[in-house]
């Protein structure tokens, strides 16, 4: 005879009745409700899922409830089934070994997801962002630039036209080339730099024009910035860093992202994504330069000049994202190996390709 003690509540008052619960095939019998025995078909009776050592509660048809201690006898529950999710959770919660294995698997899958999953999703999503969002985001950057003292270029009109024409030739026929518009600016506050806005505007400062040893070097920088636009890096970066913030918030239970525990890993991760984008833009630039008959060595040259001029900084890139770039020596080396062995050593010969 399987009998368990419990306390019955009728659901209408807080009065407790001590009862004995009997689990029979197909029937739940309860003895002691007002001195009587009641029976219910078992398939109409629900039970709370097992959780630690907490009491189980049976819910009876008609609103009654029976609170009782957990018992191994309840393992063969024949009434309304409990949620399989909670049954699985309970199984795992009681097994330290399984928890340890699951922890390891979780860490691994998180790393894989952050490394591959988030960038992949961001790339897919970025392609569907309407251009109006890119324009709005760019307008914000432009107003910021204006406030930081970015003004009209001081280059001679003929020089401006020459650079613009060369840039058009560089990107002609490239994907998304229609949106790319070159903006020459005088920016003493920023210095020698170039950057791409989400909507395709590419900024090139007079200071960088002055620093470059040749137009090929300028084209190398612009090819890199064009790469950012072709690959939608601005939007992807925004999506990636937002999703990392959100993810860290979800996992650590702080969705506002205000705590250091959330923001620190999120910032570190999003800088990691940014470095990946820089490498992608570099690779794009090298391939484009080669197709236009310019040696990627031009990129290495301009990076060297930038490094020499500002030894502390990592090189050309959007404002504020300087620390988000790969180390300059690595980028120089990548450019030189892209240029191929034919040009290794010695001064650059722009016309030795193709």
């Amino acid at each position: 005879m399987i009998e368990l003690p419990g306390r019955w509540f009728d659901g209408r008052s807080s009065r407790a009745h001590d009862v004995r619960v009997e689990l029979l095939p197909g029937v739940l019998g309860v003895d002691g409700i007002d001195g009587m025995r009641h029976e219910w078909p078992i398939d109409g009776v629900g039970i709370t899922p097992r959780l630690g050592n907490t009491p189980r509660v049976l819910s009876l048809p008609g609103g009654g409830r029976i609170e009782m201690a957990d018992s191994p006898l309840l393992a063969q529950w024949a009434g309304r089934p409990v949620s399989p999710i909670e049954r699985g959770a309970d199984w795992l919660e009681r097994r330290r070994g399984a928890i340890a294995v699951a922890a390891l698997a979780t860490v691994l899958s998180t790393v894989v997801f952050l490394h591959a999953g988030v960038p992949w999703l961001a790339e897919k999503a970025a392609a569907h962002i309407p251009p109006v969002v890119e324009r709005t985001a760019s307008a914000q950057v432009v107003s910021l630039l204006t406030r930081t003292g970015v003004g009209a270029t001081t280059l001679a009109p003929a020089r401006q036209l020459a650079i613009a024409a060369e840039f058009r030739r560089l990107v002609a026929g490239e994907p998304r080339a229609r949106d790319m518009r070159l903006r020459l600016v005088h920016a003493p506050g920023i210095g020698a730099n170039a950057f791409a806005l989400p909507d395709g505007r590419i900024y090139l400062t007079d200071e960088l024009v002055a620093l470059a040893g040749s137009d090929d070097e300028l084209m190398a920088v612009l090819a890199h910035e064009a790469g950012h636009h072709v690959h939608r890096h601005a939007m992807r970066q925004a999506l990636e860093s937002s999703s990392v913030f959100l993810l860290a918030g979800v996992l650590l239970g702080d969705v506002s992202g205000s705590s250091l525990a959330v923001s620190l890993p999120a910032v570190l991760l999003s800088n990691g994504f940014s470095r990946g984008h820089e490498r992608e833009a570099d690779r794009y630039a090298f391939a484009l330069l080669k197709r236009r008959g310019i040696s990627p060595r031009a990129f290495a040259d301009i990076m060297r000049r930038l490094m020499k001029r500002e030894p502390g900084s990592a090189g050309a890139g959007p404002i504020g994202y300087l620390s988000t770039h790969p180390p300059t020596p690595e980028r120089i080396q990548a450019a030189e190996s892209a240029a191929g062995p034919g040009t290794a050593g010695g001064p650059r010969r722009p016309d030795d390709l193709q």
Binding site: R7, S14, T48, L51, G52, A102, A238, G257
Partner: protein, 361 residues
């Protein structure tokens, strides 16, 4: 779990003429760190693996664990929320957060508008979350209810907030009192409504102490700064070190004051609440809780978070040990409210909106 939804049965004191027996019931908390660790850790893992979807189940299991391990007058509490309702609430909350993050980057005007809307909805959201928590909390087979409508929360939670701001916080105790009154009197257990009786003066005592300490602190720091500033003004490093120490001291004391007010006001809330002839006693002490919170924080940081279950169990045990239901008479005579009351016409809408929202109060 005893934060807002209290539990006690109330005998109907009109029916029994002889003086009822007064019995004090202290909640017994029986959760253990070892057991809760497994639950907590599995919650964390499954939430990560399911990209946060499981967090709704995690919340339900955590709440159920703390409710069910809290026994009052021989019966455990029950947390009844369905994970799906919580998941819906979370999805809405995440959608709002995503909209906020994205708009803060791309559309500042939209961001400002969203912040304004969320701010204006906050009192309504507080009511929704109180309502959700109350109806999903049960004891002895009866559920709690919170049945103030959303509109009436705008007085205590918005108007009084503005008044407090306009008076440089001088009306803060009145605001707290109004909010407590609103929360407590909005709750029912079964058909019995909670009542609230407090003296505004009592709310000014902790406020006065906190304000006094704050003023003294400001004066002391100001004088100290004025003293050392000229002597080390030339030595930048020494100046920075001193200034940092002072800012640090300022924040530690400020944190202590915030904690002090929270504990004292929580005690006031409970000690001013009644359920029929029954009342409550909350005797949490500021220094105990300060120690618990500080040592919990140190333990959590040192164990990279693994001490969280221990910290939570410890806090729940302290709370239970410093709470008391002073029952006057029988605990068996609470009766469920009839749910078909007139005037509950909007309840379908409420049910449609009845999603779990996490709002810390």
């Amino acid at each position: 779990m005893l934060d807002v939804a209290p539990a006690s049965p109330a005998g109907d004191f009109h029916s029994s003429a002889p003086a009822p027996v007064v019995v004090s019931h202290r909640p017994h908390f029986s959760g253990t760190t070892g057991e809760f660790f497994g639950i907590w850790f599995v919650n964390l893992l499954l939430s990560i693996v399911t990209l946060g979807i499981y967090s709704a189940w995690a919340k339900v299991r955590t709440h159920r664990y703390f409710y069910a391990n809290t026994q009052l007058a021989g019966s455990s509490f029950e947390y009844l929320a369905s994970p799906i309702a919580i998941l819906k609430g979370r999805l809405i909350a995440y959608a709002v957060v995503i909209a906020l993050i994205v708009s803060s980057r791309f559309a500042p005007m939209l961001y400002a508008a969203l912040i304004l809307v969320v701010g204006l909805l906050m009192p309504a959201l507080i009511v929704m979350s109180l309502r959700f928590r109350a109806r999903n909390s049960a004891w002895r087979g009866l559920t709690f209810r919170f049945d103030e409508d959303a509109g009436s929360a705008y007085g205590p939670f918005m108007l009084w907030g503005w008044l407090t701001g306009l008076t440089v916080s001088l009306l803060y105790p009145v605001m707290k009192k109004r909010q407590h009154e609103f929360i407590v009197e909005g709750h029912r257990f079964g058909h019995k409504r909670f009542s609230y009786r407090a003296d505004t003066g009592a709310y000014y005592v902790p406020y006065g102490i906190a304000a006094g300490v704050f003023v003294v602190l400001a004066v002391v720091l100001g004088v100290t700064f004025a003293r050392f500033a000229p002597s080390v003004a030339t030595d930048k490093a020494a100046f920075a070190a001193r200034a940092m120490t002072m800012v640090g001291a300022f924040y530690v004391v400020l944190l202590g004051l915030v904690m002090f007010l929270r504990v004292r006001y929580a005690n006031l809330l409970w000690n001013s609440s009644h359920l029929g002839p029954h009342r409550f006693e909350s005797t949490a002490r500021v220094r105990d809780l300060a120690w618990i919170y500080a040592s919990n924080a140190v333990a959590i940081v040192c164990t990279l978070g693994l001490a969280v279950p221990w910290a939570k169990i410890r806090l729940a045990r302290y709370r239970a040990d410093h709470f008391m239901l002073v029952a006057s008479g029988d605990m068996d005579e609470f009766v469920a409210a009839s749910e078909s009351r007139p005037g509950a016409a909007g309840s379908e809408l409420v049910d449609a909106l009845d999603v779990g929202l996490d709002i810390g109060l």
